[in-house]
Amino acid sequence: MAKHKTDYVRYHIHTETANEIKRWPTRFRVKVKKAGLAKWLLKEVLEHGLGNRREVVLSRPCLYGVFSGPVGGFAPRPQHCVGCLRCTTEYPEMVSVTHNPERKKLGDSFFASSFIDALSYESLEGVIPVKGAGYRGKFGGEGWEGMWTDMSEIVRPTRDGIHGREFISTVVDIGYRPNYLQFDEEGHLVGAEPKLISIPLPVLFDVPPKNDQSEKAARIIAKAAAELETLAVLPITMICRIGLVGKHIVPLVKAGEEELLSNLGYIPDLVEMESWDAHLAESILRWYPESILSLRLTFPVREEILDYVQKGISTFHLLADYHGQDVEGNFVLDLIRETHKTLVEAGIRQEVTLVGSGGIITAEHIPKAILCGLDAAAVDTPVMAALQADFIGECKQREFSQFSLPAKLTIEWGVQRLMNLAAAWRDQLLEISGAMGLREIRRMRGEMGRAMFMKELEADAFAGVAGYE
């Protein structure tokens, strides 16, 4: 019997604990009235003695080690506090546990501290945040908060494995895919051919914010992209200056930088134009005819995208600001839908790849953005958060946002943090896809039937309720 050899290698992201290198403010503040504690201890000792009842006297109301330091409750360790409040329930006169307002200051008004908490956990271990109790947040809201993904009670991607998610593909294609192939009478391929690359997860890394385009940050992003087999967009000036090499590194080029194209020491899979320039496009294709050409467009992106398709561009990197808005304040969710719809109506959606950046900051935003019409997301500020950068003030405009990376940042640590983050996000993407019964992420794109929106659901449910319009 013939033996089958296979080159199949299951995609795997190596995760490893990458502890925080900078101590962030604790989530909770724990205060103990020391005089009260001393009095209580004395009372306990008098009641039980210190002989074989020592265990009773010293039995503390915390399972997490807040009072397990060398002097117990006299020097609580709030970094261990999980906010269960058992201590303050048992000793309301002696112990108080409150939210730490310093922790709430992490991030900014869009990238709230709750997102930082989740992202920090994901970057630490590379695992999905799992917790008890139900949902604790607001009912719905604007943007991503007002959107739910569908699930199926019966349909599964596959019934192999216990959940059927073991064989879900997160691969996405980037580039040009003709709607159909054309052959001549002799069977030879004529007309346009596919020009595609595939990446194993729908997440790329976008250019670091302007003020943080340090060599270290660039090397971290480039190496993480290589490890993850995805892409990292970096300015061509930076690539050339520090000598980065690798087909996964996407040079971002603007008009006037044509001469730098010849300095790249590799053939990139993808080259991205900062904005449309016919001469630049021509230069890129002359130097790198095998590479896919991508164009950055700032939302709102409407009919003009069709003109660029006519000019031969098949991959678009759509940009909102870091809060997911366009200049008019419209949110990225609606903006993506609008662009996707424009392409669908023109009958060319299959031919075009849409990558999006801005306002996609947490794991659930990836499937939601894909449902709205993206093929993949190029993450920006989440990279900063994973690397424990401080947000300086409001980080909304790409041009002016200020971040401060930790002084102890190392390349090895940074790469691991990003790999952990990618692993956690990919696993969550599998959970969502499994719940939906989708076998591959490519099929999720633009599947609006699998999305639910608060405005529509509420209008249906509350019709007839007095005062609801």
Binding site: F28, E55, V56, P61, C62, L63, V82, L85, R86, T88, T89, E90, Y91, P92, S96, V97, T98, I128, P129, V130, K131, G132, A133, G134, Y135, R136, G137, K138, F139, G141, W148, T149, D150, M151, S152, E153, I154, R156, R159, I162, H163, G164, A363, E364, Q428, I432, G434, A435, G437, R450, M452, M454, E458, D460, A461, A463, G464, V465, A466, G467
Partner: protein
């Protein structure tokens, strides 16, 4: 001759006393004490208000806002369209809050005197003591509680007439005798907090007794498959129902599903498969462990699912043949009345029962030794903080407070039965205009 208490007993006694004192002090304290308690859905005041009700059997009169949360949507933006006071029913007039759980016109008649029963929480996700507390309370109120997936210990057998045996995708703890005992058998297709993902019991909580009941290996995490691998269609589901009916012809069948886009079709499918009860579990429901991403983002909240299903069942002319029970984020008597007005027959309660027993909603149910208050844990020491009798009294008091409030709401709406409230959206008022 009395013996000296052991250190273990003294430790349990010390913390139990402190905790119970604490629940009292907190719920009777000033309302402006700063604490890291509560969240948008279950505000600190709502938690303390539930403690109060669990202690006194009536709603708080100390200014705690126990009726609504601060989530800015769903129940929290709905109020009642009260009649003018002169049209309220007199307090002397009887108001009926009972509901029937079988409206098929054949088979066993079961009526519960309050429109609620306890939702599925498995042995392992909660302690045996908490299970017993729920069982005693269910018996006292002639209602039910669901075992969740994982079977139940023999200590619960005396309460079998009030137990809903759950059959979920892992089939953990499902035995012929627990089906034969059960007045109601519940198929759990999905859970609102983690729709489409199957159950999670992390290894730390799978003690030898939990594992023995589930016929699994101690200290190994148990992930229930999703979905039922034997169900591809309504017809397959029908076979499941037939299987239960063969084992226990008298049992009513409940089908617990989550809330996808096509939840209305799922409900109709369940009806045609022979279900007596369709139990919708909305996406904001409780859990012992679930991926955070699943709690918010998959499937729709119960406030949206119930009217959708109610309307569809009406359209199919089968609404009066099935009982529609709702769960998933129903926290108070007001929420119960609101979900009935949106189209449900009754509500299934879970988290509020745990809050009555001292839960602070800290979300640490799954880690390490489990709940530090002894609720969602299998730790021998911690689980002793809740005695079944104390727990049953607290849950029972909460039910009493709910019953009181429901009757009060119905009176002020001019209704003499909760059955008249079903689907009366016109008796609700929307207060969400201008929300952020």
């Amino acid at each position: 001759m009395s013996r000296e208490p052991t250190n273990h007993e003294l430790i349990v006694e010390k913390h139990t006393r402190n905790l119970r004192d604490g629940y009292h002090v907190w719920s009777h304290d000033k309302t402006d004490v700063e604490r890291a308690l509560g969240d948008y859905r279950w505000t600190g005041e709502m938690i303390l208000g539930t403690y109060y009700q669990a202690e006194h059997g009536r709603p708080p009169d100390n200014g705690l806002e126990y009726r609504v949360g601060a989530s800015g949507g769903g129940f929290d933006v709905l109020d009642f369209n009260w009649l003018p006071e002169e049209k309220w029913l007199a307090e002397t007039e009887g108001v009926d809050v009972s509901i029937s759980l079988n409206r098929r016109g054949k088979g066993r008649e079961i009526t519960i005197p309050i429109p609620i029963y306890g939702g599925g929480m498995s042995f392992g996700s909660i302690s045996e003591q908490v299970m017993l507390a729920r069982a005693i309370a269910a018996k006292k109120w002639s209602t039910f509680f669901s075992t969740g997936e994982g079977g139940y210990p023999s200590s619960l057998v005396p309460f079998k007439d009030h137990i809903i045996t759950q059959v979920a995708t892992g089939m953990f703890g499902v035995r012929e005798e627990t089906i034969q005992h059960a007045p109601i058998v519940e198929f759990k297709y999905a859970q609102g907090a983690k729709p489409g993902l199957g159950g999670h019991l992390l290894g730390d909580k799978a003690t030898s007794s939990v594992a023995a009941l589930r016929e699994s290996v101690p200290w190994v995490s148990l992930f229930s498959p999703f979905p039922f691998h034997s169900v591809y269609s309504v017809e397959d589901h029908r076979k499941h129902v037939d299987w239960i009916k063969t084992t226990n012809p008298e049992a009513l069948v409940s089908v617990k599903v989550s809330t996808p886009t096509d939840v209305d079709m799922v409900a109709v499918g369940s009806y045609f498969a022979g279900a007596n009860i369709i139990h919708l579990d909305g996406s904001y429901g409780g859990t012992g462990a679930a991926p955070e991403i699943a709690k918010k983002n998959i499937a729709m909240p119960i406030e949206f699912a119930v009217p959708k299903v109610h309307k569809y069942l009406l359209g199919e002319n089968i609404r009066d043949e099935v009982v529609l029970m709702a769960s998933g984020g129903i926290r108070s008597a007001d929420d119960i009345a609101k979900i009935v007005a949106l189209g449900a027959d009754g509500a299934v309660m879970g988290t509020s029962e745990l809050v009555a027993l001292g839960c602070t909603r800290c979300s640490n149910c799954e880690r390490g030794r489990g709940c530090p208050f002894g609720l969602t844990t299998t730790d021998l020491l911690l689980s002793e903080f809740v005695s079944p009798e104390w727990g049953a009294e607290r849950i029972s008091n909460l039910y009493q407070s709910y019953e009181f409030q429901l009757k009060d709401i119905l009176r002020k709406l001019g209704l003499s039965s909760i059955r008249e409230l079903r689907g009366r959206k016109d008796l609700l008022v929307y207060r969400g205009n201008g929300r952020k």
